[in-house]
Amino acid sequence: MQKEISTKKIFSKLLEKFETISGENTFNCYQCGCCSAACPVASEMDLLPSQVMRYIQIGLTDEVLNGNTMWICATCYACQARCPRGIDIATVMETLRQIKLRKNEDWTVLGKIDVDELNKLPPIALISNLRKMTG
């Protein structure tokens, strides 16, 4: 299906919100793809980090928010350490998570995880996960 795009959709309130929370200008990205080349977990993502940037640039924000990229992201900063335009993609991912989480759409549901398993986990794993994946 063709996607209809418009500047109205691109320069939306959501984009504004996104740029305030992240402190990043989406349009700085010139799609070199270095972030995607660097990302160690990209194989599990349905959109590469650079594709996420691109989708936002053309207003396909819903597609991004419904995808899994930001939930797969491990905040490892491999992308940020290389981005030639100084974009902090890790923060972009966090912002996308925040947009979801602030609507109470948690990603991690503790109830679904086996209790023995939970007990085995180091606290840093559990706390960091809850911080990133729940509101």
Partner: protein, 289 residues
């Protein structure tokens, strides 16, 4: 004995007590006492990235206030994630007076007004810069005897650049420590890449894939064991080998150490059974003497 205020963090008090013990014991050999803060709370483990989110920095700053209360201006960490979180939260309020004021306002019940003046240390660069590897080499009692290690740095000590402890693309600090302890090191491209981190909670598969790539990579270069500098990496690379083996039957397991364990071993401190029990893959199998 020189005393340094020390922030342990949750993990080194529980699932990774062996890392803490080995560090404290080792430091004693250099006449340094890591003096645990009287009171501390969880730092939050990850630095919150949203610009409009101050709440999540409070936990970190509160711990730095604890440091000030003990009349210290520096605090030692052993956990890479604690280091990253405390240091970056401190940097954020240091470079942003408004944030600092807001946080101080919020914590009006604290006796102290925080001034962003605590230096957050990590043991690894401390070993390199203050104690020095040459001094460590001189104190080695039990050499690692040419065992081949593959260093694994993970993310939080190297990135972002504001807090990096070494060259983020070609770090050598772990390798140099191993060499000082008499071990050998091999290079892998994965040393600075991510282990999958907190995905280990609900997306174990992401971590399994990472574990396989990282350990296979190390083995291909001839490594016999992995040395990590982050307790989460240590957990993932060690304990997730179980799931990895389940998924890939040909996968061969490999012991995973925390750098403090090897330090302690080298300095002649006994590798206790309790330490060993916290590992998944038997760590002692590789020691040749």
């Amino acid at each position: 004995m020189k005393k340094i205020a020390y922030y342990p963090g949750c993990t080194l008090k529980t699932t990774a007590a062996n890392f803490e013990e080995s560090a404290i014991e080792s430091m004693k050999k250099f006449d340094i006492e890591l003096e645990e803060l009287d009171r501390w709370n969880c730092c939050g483990t990850v630095f919150s990235l949203a610009t409009d989110d101050l709440m999540h920095h409070i936990a970190a700053i509160r711990n730095l206030i604890r440091v000030k209360e003990e009349k210290s201006n520096q605090v030692m960490t052993l956990c890479a994630m604690c280091y990253n979180t405390l240091k970056r939260s401190n940097q954020r309020v240091k470079s942003n007076q408004e944030d600092l004021d807001k946080i101080n306002d919020f914590m009006y019940k604290e006796d102290l007004n925080y001034n962003a003046d605590v230096d957050v240390l990590h043991l690894l660069p401390y070993l390199r810069d203050e104690i020095t590897f040459s001094k460590i080499a001189k104190r080695v009692k039990k050499s690692l005897n040419d065992i081949k290690f593959s260093a694994f740095y993970g993310c939080t000590l190297l990135r972002p650049k504001e807090i990096q402890i070494d060259d983020p693309f070609m770090p050598t600090i772990l390798e140099n420590l191993i060499t000082a302890l008499g071990g050998e090191t091999v290079e892998t491209p994965y040393a600075i890449e991510c282990c999958g981190a907190y995905q280990t909670v609900n997306q174990v598969d992401v971590v399994v894939e990472r574990t396989k790539v990282i350990i296979d990579g190390a083995r291909n270069q001839g490594a016999e064991a992995i040395v990590t500098s982050c307790p989460l990496c240590a957990f993932n690379l060690d304990h997730r080998q179980k799931e990895t083996k389940k998924k890939y039957s040909k996968f061969i397991e490999m012991p995973v150490f925390y750098f403090t364990e090897l330090l302690a071993y080298g300095l002649g401190i006994e590798f206790k059974k309790e330490w060993k029990d916290l590992h998944y893959v038997d760590p002692l199998s590789i020691f040749k003497n």
